[in-house]
């Protein structure tokens, strides 16, 4: 395990140092991170990075199998176009978290911003998952094309909403699971409420348990069967819009 003191290092040099270290040691700890972008970008399997501080935007962009654990908040576009790997954030994450991710997992202990999981997609056996501990902003899962977004609603006040508005607008693949009876008006017209399948239940159970393990939070009260599932009405939502 190597440690880098990231204070006053520009992102390019910081990422170069990480590249260098992982040629010999796959475990890296970054201390005093303060806004450096692109940490973990494109990094492959078996690399594990612990981040103390405030990583900047596009953390884990195009990531290809590495694991990041952040003891702090994530900013915007965490896991942008990520292919594989895992990001665990002991805090909140910003807008467009998981933009266009195609594989891997993102666990956020607290809240996330707007347009999270936008254009997530799945491909063959890779199915990305975003697990959000508390609540998500507007446009969650917009244009979603695959994978799963799970919102647990932990620690919210009674009656507090788990998501903002216009969730699942343009969704044409994947599913959004909300740990509540959600008002339909919160969702775009392309998303419909569907029954949970056995496969959904086991997916939920697996990720709820993992959430509990990563953040050392008891999750026994969260019942997979209570979730509302929103999924696309069609895989081709806009085909009727055009005349030749």
């Amino acid at each position: 395990m190597k440690t880098i003191d990231a204070s006053d290092i520009y992102y390019r040099q910081l990422n170069e140092q990480i590249d260098e270290i992982i040629t010999t040691d796959k475990n890296v700890t970054l201390n005093n991170v303060f806004g450096q972008r692109y940490i973990g970008r494109g990094l492959p399997e078996n690399v594990k990075i612990k981040i103390n501080g405030f990583p900047g935007n596009d953390m884990g962009a195009y990531m290809d199998g590495a694991e990041l654990e952040i003891f702090g908040n994530g900013q915007d576009a965490v896991g942008n176009t990520m292919n594989n790997g895992r990001i665990v954030i002991h805090g909140n994450a910003g807008d467009t978290t998981g933009y266009a991710m195609r594989g891997g997992e993102i666990y956020v202990k607290g809240n996330v911003g707007y347009r999270v999981g936008i254009h997530m997609k799945e491909y063959k056996e890779t199915r990305p998952v975003i697990v959000i501990g508390a609540r998500a902003g507007d446009f969650l899962g917009e244009y979603m094309a695959g994978g799963a977004i799970i919102v647990l609603g932990i620690g919210l006040k009674k009656g507090e909403d788990l998501t903002g508005k216009y969730c699942g607008t343009g969704i044409h693949g994947g599913a959004i699971f909300i740990n509540a009876k959600q008002d339909k008006y919160k969702f775009g017209k392309e998303a419909v409420l569907m029954k949970l399948t056995d496969a959904d239940i086991s997916l939920l159970e697996k990720h709820i348990e993992a959430y509990g393990k990563y953040f050392k939070i008891g999750t026994s009260k969260i019942k997979a069967g209570n979730f509302s599932k929103y999924a696309p009405l069609s895989h081709n939502p806009y085909s009727k819009m055009y005349s030749k």
Binding site: Y38, N57, Y62, D64, Y123, H235, N236, Y242, K244
Partner: protein, 501 residues
């Protein structure tokens, strides 16, 4: 006949004396225009389905076929043209957005045709490319503000990554999915043989085509289809697509029916699923955000490849291009309103954007005034039809041009504007195996090589005639251009004098 008020646009003329009922046309037409009537032993045509692609005409062994404009006329009316009326009928029938393909066909001014080139006479003799060396090679990428050398004259300044092209020509972005595998293969092989580049478009890069990487530009668009670390490192340059000349401001939509196994593997999405590219990149709402994306790509590709940013030519193109350069792009690509497309809403294609000639002149001027022209190359697109257009573009300030429609014409496109139906009879804009097979990459790549080779030679002749022996010496040399029939304002924007001045 039909109650939806639609009437044929074209009439299939069959010379019965020549027709031998071989049924080639019946087999060839994917639009099912021709049919064979056994009882009468006659081949018949249903005109209304014809898109005028010439496939049957060219394959008919006895040359019995020709296609004409259908002679049905509405009462003459300069305002309510037949097209305007028919569009209303169609929308009243379907309630849908009108979809079309290829570039804007409307009679807007073509500024290339209103500019003339100079040549040397008496003084500064012209150069004959047959006998003298001529440089048409270009380097695309950011150029440093100054160069430093050591005592021995060796360059110390570290140059940003450059993309070397043997001619100032690249093949435009056309995605795998919008055009066929064989069309892509033809482009990739031609680019490799020519020492230029083709562009993946926003559809990802097929496994089988990674080997053409050194001559490939990989595109990153809002849908991020097929974009991975491997993909970003596979090409010679990376292009962020913000917009496209044929449809500025709107996204793309590859219908699920065109997403077969091969397209699905290339785009990395499930078979049959729509591939929707949202109008904006949702991580870009500002020039600062664009910078973030540019640098995320540079970070992931080790700063080894130039990053292009492609925008559509819109009203404020010059200011936007300036922002794009400041955001760190190594090349700005500007696509004019005549640029082609596999599918675009007709109203957008025909009414949005500005001519590339004006956008190019304005952008080059602006970047020079701001002292940042060296910081990025300028590549233009949006209907470059021949080598003279290229020479004029370079004299206006471009470093290179993208050709899309011209490249497709070289491999058999007949400009029937029907790409969006997915039934291209020439095997280009289709995924139907039977149709794709018609395009033989072994033959077609050579036609592309021929085209670019011919154009490159013409470029040499044209610039040689001006007494210039390197394309770099022509760049931004607007004194080599004169306008004909242009007004003061147009001349001012183009930064050229009128012929005779």
């Amino acid at each position: 006949m039909s109650l939806d008020f639609s009437t044929p646009l074209f009439e299939v003329i069959r010379d019965e004396k020549k027709c031998i009922q071989c049924k080639v046309c019946v087999k060839q037409c994917s639009n099912k225009v021709h049919s064979y009537d056994e009882e009468e032993n006659l081949v018949k045509a249903d005109d209304i389905k014809c898109v005028n692609c010439h496939r049957c005409v060219l394959l008919c062994p006895t040359r019995a076929l020709s296609i004409k404009k259908y002679s049905l006329e509405f009462r003459e009316n300069a305002n309510w043209t037949g097209q305007a009326i028919n569009e209303i009928y169609k929308q009243a029938d379907t309630g849908g957005v009108l979809l079309t393909s290829m570039g804007n066909p409307k009679p807007f001014p073509i500024y290339w045709d209103k500019m003339l080139l100079n040549a040397s006479q008496v003084t500064n003799p012209s150069i004959d490319p047959l006998r003298e060396p001529m440089e048409t090679r270009v380097m695309i990428g950011r150029k440093p503000d100054s160069l430093e050398y050591d005592k021995k004259g060796k360059l110390i300044t570290q140059l940003p990554p450059q993309l070397e092209l043997s001619a100032p020509i690249l093949f435009s972005a056309m995605s795998y999915g919008s055009i066929s595998r064989n069309a892509h293969e033809s482009l990739a092989r031609a680019a490799t043989e020519l020492g230029i580049c083709y562009n993946t478009g926003e559809g990802g890069l097929n496994r089988d085509f990674y080997k053409y990487g050194p001559n490939t530009i990989v595109q990153v668009a809002s849908g991020r289809f097929g974009v991975s670390r491997e993909y970003l490192n596979a090409g010679a340059a990376i292009e962020i697509k913000i917009g496209q000349g044929a449809k500025p401001g709107i996204g793309g939509h590859l219908p699920g029916r065109k997403v077969d196994e091969d397209v699905s593997a290339t785009r990395m999405i499930p078979i049959g699923s729509d591939a929707i590219s949202p109008a904006p990149h949702h991580d870009i709402y500002s020039i600062e955000d664009l910078r973030q994306l540019i640098y995320s790509l540079k970070e992931t590709s080790g700063y080894k490849k130039p990053v292009f940013v492609k925008i559509a030519a819109v009203h404020n193109a010059a200011a936007i291009a300036s922002g794009v350069v400041r955001a760190g792009a190594d090349a700005v690509v500007v696509d004019g309103f005549r640029g082609g497309t596999g599918a675009a809403p007709l109203r957008v294609r025909d009414n949005v954007g500005i001519p590339i000639e004006l956008a190019l002149a304005a952008i080059d001027q602006r970047l020079r005034e701001e002292g940042i022209r060296n910081q990025a190359s300028l590549v233009i697109a949006g209907s470059v039809r021949n080598s003279a257009d290229i020479v004029k573009a370079i004299a206006l300030g471009a470093d290179a041009v993208y050709i899309g429609s011209a490249a497709l014409l070289a491999i058999g496109c007949h400009m029937c504007h029907s790409c969006s139906t997915g039934k291209c009879n020439w095997g280009i804009a289709t995924q139907e195996p039977e149709l794709v097979k018609r395009l033989n990459p072994d033959i077609m790549y050579k036609r592309l090589v021929n085209l670019v080779t011919a154009w490159n030679h013409e470029i040499q002749e044209l610039i040689g005639g001006m007494g210039i022996n390197a394309i770099d010496s022509l760049r931004g040399n607007r004194l080599m251009l004169r306008g004909v029939g242009l007004n003061e304002k147009e001349l001012e924007i183009l930064g050229i004098k009128h012929a005779g001045e």
